[in-house]
Each structure stands twice: as C-alpha cells, then as structure tokens.
C-alpha cells in the first residue's frame, strides 16, 4: 500500500494540480465548443437552405462527427464531477431549469437528423428540419447563458450578461459552422457560404463588444481582471484572428479559416476562465483550491487523464482523417 500512501500525501510530482485541472476543464469545454460548435452552426445554416440536396449535404457533412464531438460535453461534466464535485453539485442544481433546457435542446438536435432521414415526405422533413434548427440554436444559446450566469454568480434564470453571452456563442457557432462547411462542400454551396461567414463574423464581433461592455458595467467585481494584460491581449488576439478569418474566407483558404475559428473559440473560453479564476463558483463562494477533490482522488484522476486524453486525440485524428475533404456524391447522413 506504499503507492497509495505516496499518492495520498501530496500532489503528483508537486505539480499545481488544482490549477491544472481548472485549465484542463476549460480546455475540454473549449474543445467541445469548437467541435460541436460547427455542428450547431451547420444546424443554424440549415435554416437558410431550401434545396433538399443542399440540406442533405449539410447533414452528411456532420454525420460522422457530431456524436464524438458531443462526448466532449460528457467529458466536461465527468471531469467537473471528478475534480470539483462540490462545484458540479452546486452549479448544476442552482441552474436547474437551464440545465434541462440544454439537455432537452441536445436531445432535439441529436434526434432530428436521424429522424429527418427516415421519410422523404414534405411535412415530415419540414418539421424535423425545424427541430434540427431549433435544437442547434437553443443549445449554444443556453450554454452561453449558463456560462455567463456561472461567471457572474447569478442565481436567477435570465440575466442580461446571460442573454448577451448566449447570443455571442450562437454567432460564434455560425462562424464555426461556415468554416467547417467551406471545407466539406463544393461548388455553389461553398461559394454562397462566404457571405454567411462575413455576416456571422461581424455579428460575433459586435456581440463580443456588447458583452464586454455589459460585463464591465454590470459586474464591478470583474473590472480589474478585465483590464489585466492577459484579458486585453486575448481580446486583441480575437480581433487579429477575426481579420485572419475574413481574409482566409475571401481567399478561399479553407483550413486557415477553420484554424482561425479554433483560435476565436479558445480565446473566448480563455477570457471566461481568466475572469473566473481564482474562484470557480462565485455564487457559492468556492475557489479552485477549496473545491478541489482530496489528494488521492486528484492524483488518480490526473494519471487517468494523462494516459487517456492523448488516446482520445488519436481517435479524433483517425476519424477526421478518414472523412477529410468535401462530402462525396452519394454520401448521406
């Protein structure tokens, strides 16, 4: 039992594990938002397409990916439970109705494409198409609301920062969806998406400014951190990446635009994490150091994550390289 004793005595290799887990948690959340974000964005763009063939292409584009992407949210929930159980419990029970709105919307989003493909009569596809769009819009909106309420320590369901961040996240997923679809489609559809990309990017930037202004005005506790070099730097990075996205979209550099999107998503998530730290649940007054799980569990989880996450990375490389390039004729959902 000496090994258990070693693992119970202090953090592995003396690493600052609570902070690393805080970072890892937001990395997982960011990965989810980037990957499933393009699925949501494709769902939003689905509403702008009337042609059955084009709609089919949109569904085929996300077909092999969305389920794996959504698992990042499962891992986020599991990691939060394992590393910060009190935060998992407080946060999710405090935002009870919002959590179930997210879960309900995810059910709709996951089910709708599967149903859409079952029958080809008009009423059926129209309604499941609408369900797909609704699920794809409501999920990121509620996730944004949840994140903002978490950050400002709100205990009510609807708050102004919540609505602003909700809309910001929706715009970001559309930016993401366009970048992804430009990789996965050809011809007219690919060309048409260019202007959708510009519009979504412009909305995103406007909403980011509004959100930052709103937070600065409404959450005095965050002001000092918002003026910190790191946060200002991340906002600056967002502007640079947005310019890069616009340029790459104009020059049909599909991978560059997609990479810029990843940068945008992780910048936003990093801002949220920085504003939150060193607290992890302001409404409950919990800090990272207070909420972290006891040492033995923490060390075991760290070993588990260090071994497993690289494997997960390999799975995603296999999946995305198997389905690289545009959707082929004859491929469907």
């Amino acid at each position: 039992m000496t090994s258990v004793e070693t693992l119970s005595n202090g953090p592995l290799f003396g690493l600052p594990l609570p902070d690393l887990w805080f970072g890892l948690l937001f990395f997982i959340f960011g990965t989810f938002l980037f990957l499933d974000g393009f699925d949501f964005g494709v769902g939003a763009l689905f509403a702008t397409r009337d042609d059955g063939g084009e709609r089919e292409q949109l569904l085929a584009a996300i077909g092999p990916f969305w389920d794996g992407n959504e698992v990042w949210l499962v891992v986020f929930g599991g990691a939060l439970f394992a590393a910060f159980p009190a935060v998992y419990a407080n946060l999710f029970s405090r935002h009870y109705l919002l959590m179930f709105a997210i879960l309900g919307a995810l059910i709709l989003r996951g089910l709708a494409p599967e149903m859409y493909e079952q029958r080809h009569d008009e009423a059926w596809t129209r309604w499941w198409g609408r369900a797909f769009v609704a699920g794809s819009l409501v999920t990121p909106f509620c996730l944004g609301m949840f994140t903002a309420n978490w950050l400002v320590g709100a205990t009510t369901l609807v708050t102004l920062p919540g609505v602003l961040v909700g809309l910001t996240v929706v715009a970001l997923t559309v930016v993401d969806g366009v970048a992804f679809l430009r990789l996965k489609t050809r011809g007219d559809l690919r060309a048409d998406l260019q202007s959708d990309g510009y519009r979504a990017l412009a909305s995103y930037l406007v909403l980011v400014v509004l959100t930052l202004a709103g937070l600065y005005a409404l959450a005095p506790g965050l002001r000092a951190t918002m003026r910190s070099p790191l946060v200002l730097g991340l906002v600056g990075l967002t502007l640079v990446l947005a310019a890069g996205y616009a340029l790459a979209t104009r020059r049909d550099r599909y991978y560059a635009a997609f990479a810029a999107t990843a940068g945008l998503v992780f910048s936003l998530v990093a801002v949220v994490a920085r504003l939150l730290y060193p607290s992890i649940d302001p409404a409950a007054g919990l800090t990272v150091d207070a909420a972290i799980v006891p040492t033995l569990s923490l060390n075991l989880m760290s070993i588990g994550a260090a071994l497993l996450l690289p494997l997960v990375f390999v799975y995603f490389v296999v999946l995305y390289s198997a389905f690289s390039g545009p959707v082929e004729a004859g491929e469907s959902y």
């Binding site: 794996g68 929930g77 998992y88 405090r94 179930f100 995603f316």
Partner: protein
C-alpha cells in the same frame, strides 16, 4: 406539485429505465457486429454484408438515442442529487469521468468510421473500428457498474465532515473500485445484454421465417432471416443457461452483502430458518392489497427454497428478516415481484433456447410454428428481464442511496423547488414517451425495409465489375 425529493426520485427512475434500453441494445449487438464485420471482410459473402449493414442501422439509431438520454443521467447527479454528488463525488466522480474519456470517446469516434466509412477506409481500419465500437460499449459498462456497485457495497473510503457536510474520502482505490459487487454485476449485466439482443433478433427473424415457411407468404431474402435466426439462437444457447447459473451465485452474494435487500426479494419479515421460495404471495387482508410493505402475507412455493438459495444448498439455513433492520423498509412487493418475474423469465429463456436447439438439431427449425410464435412473443422479454433486475437492484437498496451510509432522501439537491422538479419530471414523461415511440417507429421501419439488396451490395458489385469506388481512399 410533487415534493422535490419524490419528483427527483421518480425522474431518475424514469430517465434510467428509458436510457438502459439503448446501452443494452448496443452492448448486446456489439459482439454480433464484430462477427458480421469479420465474416463480411473475410468471405465477401453477400449475406454477411447484409447482416452487418442491417444491424449497424439498428445499432446507429440506438446509439444516438442512447447518447442523448445518457447525457441526461450524467448531469442529473448534479441537478437533482447534489447532496449525494457532494458527498460521494471524490470517489464516485472519477469512474464517470474515466468512462467518458476511455469508453464513450472510443465508441463515438469509431462509430463515425463504422457507420459512414465503409467506402472511405480500408478493411483493416474498418475492422478495427468495429472492434473499437464494441469495446467502447463494454468499457463503458465497466466504469458505470463500478460506480453503481460501490453504492451497493461501499468499500475503501472514510466519511469526513467538511464544513458541516459529509464527504467521502477515497482511502483504498482497489477496494473501492473492485468492490465485491462489481464482478457479479458486470457478468450478469453483460451476459444479459447479449441474451436480450439474441432474443430480440431471434424474435424478429422468426416472424419472417414463419411468414415464409409456415404461412406460405414468401419473404424476400428469407436466407438473410434464416441466418439471423440461427446466429441469434447460438447467442441464446450460450447466454441463457449461463445467466441462470451466475444469477444463482449473484443472489447468494446479495444475501451475504445486502441481507436487507435479500429479505425484500423474498418478502421475509421475521428471521427464520427453512424459508420457502414463494412462487406467489399476497397480503392476507384485503385492506393491505395496495400496501407494498404489508407484513401479513400468504404465499406458497418451494419449501426451504429461499434458505437454499441464500446459503448455496442448505434448506435449513436461517434468513435474517426485514424486522432486524432499522426502518424504513424498501417497498417489498415491488422488489419481490420484480425478482420473481425476472427469474421466471430467465428460466423461460433457457427453455426456449433448448427447445430451439432441439428443433434445429432435428432439422425442423423452420417448421415448428409454436416455437416461432414463442420466439416472436419473447422478443422484448429479455429487455424486460433486465429492467426488472435493475428494479431489484435499485429499489431493493432503498432507503439507502449509499448502502448503510446515506439515505436517498438525504441525497437530493437542497436548493431545488417542488415546482422545478415537477416541471422537469412532467417534461421528461412527455419527451421520453415521444422518444420511445419514435425509436419504436424507426426500428420498425428499418425491419420492414429489410436488408439492403442486389446492386446496392458491395460484395456483389465488386465481384461483377471492378469499378473504382466513389471517393474511396483518395
């Protein structure tokens, strides 16, 4: 308005009862899909390609519904059982996180390759993806059952009071995660999943075989359904007897580790020896007929049977009655009947397996119309038996959420209101009813449409022409 504690318990029961159907289908189908994929790749016989593609469609739909209903469960510990999550989190959260990273990720990513990628990847990677998906479903079960079995037989921890809240501290991870219940649960559940899927496959196949051979209403691709029936029966012949054998050992283990649950399974109130295994039992007074905890019960059954079961062969053995444990007691009648019906179904499946095996041996498998009817009627019963088994496990553990440590009522989130909990309970009742209806509808459509055919089959077109596959591996 329902009390938040009652509403949360009902909601968790509802969401797990619905969810478990889909993992059962994926875990049970996994070994079959690995076999079909292997045979398809090795032999190139059209029927194996048909089997692989047909059952993959069912698997994919089940997986989608399983994903969306499973995420609900992962978040429900936080939303509805926050006090439990805070107390047990340091020990209980780890397995859930590892399940996500180790199992669910493997399954969900390779499922993309497995369902959509036949034309895009080579045979080797395709085979790997089939195995990865199957392995993912089973690894998932390991971690979920580690978490659940710890609630049944908690080990390897100490309770520490932190800020007025009881918190479980992990002390001995091996004792906690390889707790005595885990092994039995895993064996019993995985075997049951394969058994339930074998029954469902056999039932569906029996319908088409019956229509073709007995009713004389020709079915296209009857050979596909005949092969399905035979493969499903092999699965049933292997799993059904095993399920009864380790079920018996599992029951004895429950008596040793959770005597209160065992007493509820057998409706034993007073500690006694030579306790009969009731086949049926009911309250003697009419006024008690709806009281699941009625103590004056009349029943008849096998003399000494329950003692025999608990002790592993001694009909004189003493069984501790429910009166010995401080109240409240679990709703005994629910546990008692669920256990009985599950066991009866288990024996019925063995009968069905041997009956089919005998007919097959005699070369009369496609002619016995009574057997076909029995198989058709039994198609959903394997899943029913699993649900009942989980009712025994979970309701039988009540009033505890962590056996002997924490009551379920203490585990509910303190902050949620009756209105919130009632609203989500009603929401789930409606949504999940719709979900089950849609799932049933889609699976029925897939079955009606039958296996993919003719020119659509790769194994046929490959043999006839050597046209390059569209977009394959470029």
């Amino acid at each position: 308005m329902v009390d938040p504690v009652v509403a949360s318990r009902l909601q968790f029961a509802l969401t797990t009862i619905v969810h478990i159907v889909f993992p059962v289908v994926s875990m049970g189908l996994a070994p079959f899909l690995v076999y079909f994929t292997w045979k398809d790749i090795r032999t190139g016989t059209p029927v194996y390609e048909q089997l692989r593609r047909f059952w993959t469609r069912i698997f994919a739909v089940s997986f989608v519904v399983g994903t969306v209903t499973g995420i609900v469960l992962e978040f429900e510990f936080g939303t509805n059982f926050a006090a439990f999550a805070t107390t047990a989190g340091p020990l209980f959260g780890g397995p859930l996180a590892v399940e996500g990273m180790m199992a669910f990720m493997l399954e969900a990513t390779f499922l993309g390759v497995f369902v959509f990628g036949r034309e895009r990847v080579g045979d080797a990677l395709y085979m790997v993806s089939a195995v990865a998906v199957g392995l993912g479903t089973w690894l998932s079960a390991i971690w979920i059952l580690i978490a659940n079995s710890w609630m049944q037989t908690p080990r390897g921890y100490e309770l520490v009071v932190e800020n007025g809240q009881r918190v479980v501290h992990l002390v001995d991870p091996v004792a906690a995660y390889l707790n005595p219940r885990f092994f039995w649960m895993f064996v019993h559940m995985q075997n049951a999943s394969v058994e339930a899927v074998s029954l469902a496959m056999a039932g569906v196949a029996a319908y088409f075989v019956f229509r073709h051979h007995v009713w004389d209403r020709p079915v296209e691709h009857v050979d596909f359904w005949e092969t399905t029936l035979k493969i499903a029966l092999v699965g049933l012949l292997i799993t059904a007897p095993l399920q009864v054998i380790h079920g018996d050992m599992y029951a004895r283990h429950v008596y040793e580790t959770q005597p209160q649950k065992f007493a509820a399974m057998e409706a034993v109130w007073e500690t006694d020896s030579y306790v009969p295994e009731y086949l049926i039992a009911f309250p003697t007074g009419l006024q008690d007929i709806v009281d699941p905890r009625a103590k004056d019960i009349f029943g008849f059954g096998i003399p000494g049977g329950a003692s025999w079961l608990a002790s592993g062969g001694d009909p004189q053995a003493t069984i501790r009655g429910l009166e010995e444990f401080e109240g409240p007691q679990p709703p005994v009648a629910v546990v008692f009947w669920s256990f009985r019906i599950m066991v009866a179904l288990g024996f019925w499946f063995v009968t069905l397996a041997f009956w089919s095996g005998y007919r097959w041996f005699r070369g009369e498998l496609f002619e016995d119309d009574l057997l076909h009817k029995a198989l058709m009627g039994s198609a959903p019963l394997g899943v029913l038996a699993i649900e009942l088994g989980w009712v025994v496990t979970e309701v039988g553990r009540q009033p505890w959420i962590i056996q002997g440590e924490m009551k379920t009522a203490q585990g509910v989130s303190p902050g949620i209101t009756g209105a919130e909990a009632t609203a989500t309970l009603l929401g789930f009742a409606v949504v999940y009813l719709g979900l089950l209806t849609l799932y049933g509808y889609v699976v029925t459509r897939i079955v009606r449409a039958g296996p993919p055919t003719g020119a659509d089959l790769v194994s046929v077109t490959d043999a006839e022409t050597s046209s390059p596959g569209v977009g394959a591996d470029d």
